[in-house]
């Protein structure tokens, strides 16, 4: 059997794209951590899953860099008055996201051109 390292590739791809995924979801509207994690899982149809040990340190990193800003919001409806920390996009975050999207698109196209060459 030919040895493959699909898990390693998968891990590296996730590592390289997670910031982009989180920023993209928060750009739409302010979201709390659970919502971000769930949407990543739903929209990737289960391919990408972020555990709390990965998601929250990443959120704190993005917040520390000033790309997102966290704010506690009281939930007066359901949840028995429990408050949640919502993250919203900052102006710096929008610029970074635009640059990361562009880089990612060019990278995906370049990889595709190499891995799936069109017949001449």
């Amino acid at each position: 059997m030919v040895p493959t390292d699909n898990e390693g590739l998968d891990r590296e791809l996730k590592k390289g794209s997670t910031e982009l995924l989180i920023l993209s979801l928060i750009e739409e509207k302010p979201r709390h951590g659970y919502e971000v994690g769930r949407l990543i899982e739903q929209r990737s149809e289960g391919v990408v899953q972020l555990h709390v040990a990965s998601l929250y340190p990443l959120l704190y990193r993005l917040e520390k860099r000033g790309w997102i800003a966290g704010k506690w919001v009281e939930n007066e409806g359901t949840g028995g008055g429990r408050r949640r920390r919502y993250y919203e996009m900052t102006e710096d975050g929008r610029k970074v996201l635009a640059a990361q999207r562009d880089t990612w698109s060019r990278f995906v196209i370049a990889v595709d051109r190499i891995t799936n060459p069109k017949p001449a």
Binding site: H51, V52, P57, W72
Partner: protein, 244 residues
């Protein structure tokens, strides 16, 4: 079904989270809410509660993994000495100014609440001051004489225990025989509220007076502003009354 207390579980599990204590509490609250939602969703879907709980705790990774990742992003917290924490005297004054301005803005923002709060405080402080003034005047305020702690007041009693005045002959006997007190003197109207009318030159004046024994002022350690104290000869029965 026993719902896990995620906050308590996380507090135990993340005891080594060496970020600022307030930040650590926020992180625990935030992650606990996440795990609680996931737990509810999984149990509602029919998963075994214990298995769901174990699975979710495993999301934190190996012991210490979550803490290390958070510390890598936020940096380790080391408490600063107080002078650095508060930024020296200049910074303290600046902070005080900010706090006062903030407090004033909050008061203006809710004028009715502020008014009720101020009235409550005013009533409370007024009542406390009144009670303290009364207690101070009655119990704590020293008498206006030297060594007031050496002054005692005593009186005679009837057989039933009722207090009663001491007769002049008894007083003279007590005074002659006392070895306990340095001086023993009498006031024949100890309340000091005997109304008296002073006449002579000019308009009559209403005064309060008391008849006392000759050594009364000497015992109290006070001197008249004008004139002299009573002499023992002036205490004699049948002698002329002398007024200070």
């Amino acid at each position: 079904m026993m719902v896990p207390d995620w906050k308590t579980l996380l507090k135990e599990r993340l005891a080594g989270l060496e970020v600022h204590p307030a930040r650590a509490m926020e992180i625990i609250e935030e992650v606990a809410a996440d795990l609680e939602d996931k737990y509810t969703r999984r149990v509602d879907r029919g998963e075994d509660p214990e298995a769901a709980k174990a699975d979710l705790l495993a999301e934190l990774g190996a012991p210490g993994e979550f803490e290390q990742r958070v510390l890598a992003e936020l940096g380790q917290f080391t408490p600063r000495p107080p002078e650095q924490e508060f930024g020296g005297p200049g910074k303290v004054l600046e902070n005080l100014g900010q706090d006062l301005r903030y407090g004033f803005r909050m008061l203006r923002k809710s004028p009715w609440f502020s008014l009720v709060a101020m009235m409550t405080l005013a009533l409370g402080i007024g009542a406390s001051t009144a009670v303290f003034s009364a207690v101070y005047g009655v119990l704590w305020k020293p008498l206006p004489f030297p060594e007031p702690n050496r002054l005692v007041f005593f009186w005679g009693t009837f057989s039933g225990g009722q207090s009663a005045a001491t007769s002049p002959p008894d007083f003279l006997d007590y005074r002659a025989r006392t070895t306990t007190f340095e001086a023993l003197e009498a006031s024949f109207a100890h309340s000091g509220r005997v109304p008296t009318t002073l006449t002579g030159s000019g308009e009559p004046a209403r005064l309060h007076s008391a008849a006392v024994s000759a050594g009364y002022f000497k015992m109290l350690g006070v001197q008249p502003i004008l004139g002299r104290n009573f002499s023992s000869a002036e205490e004699r029965d049948g002698g002329n009354g002398v007024v200070i």
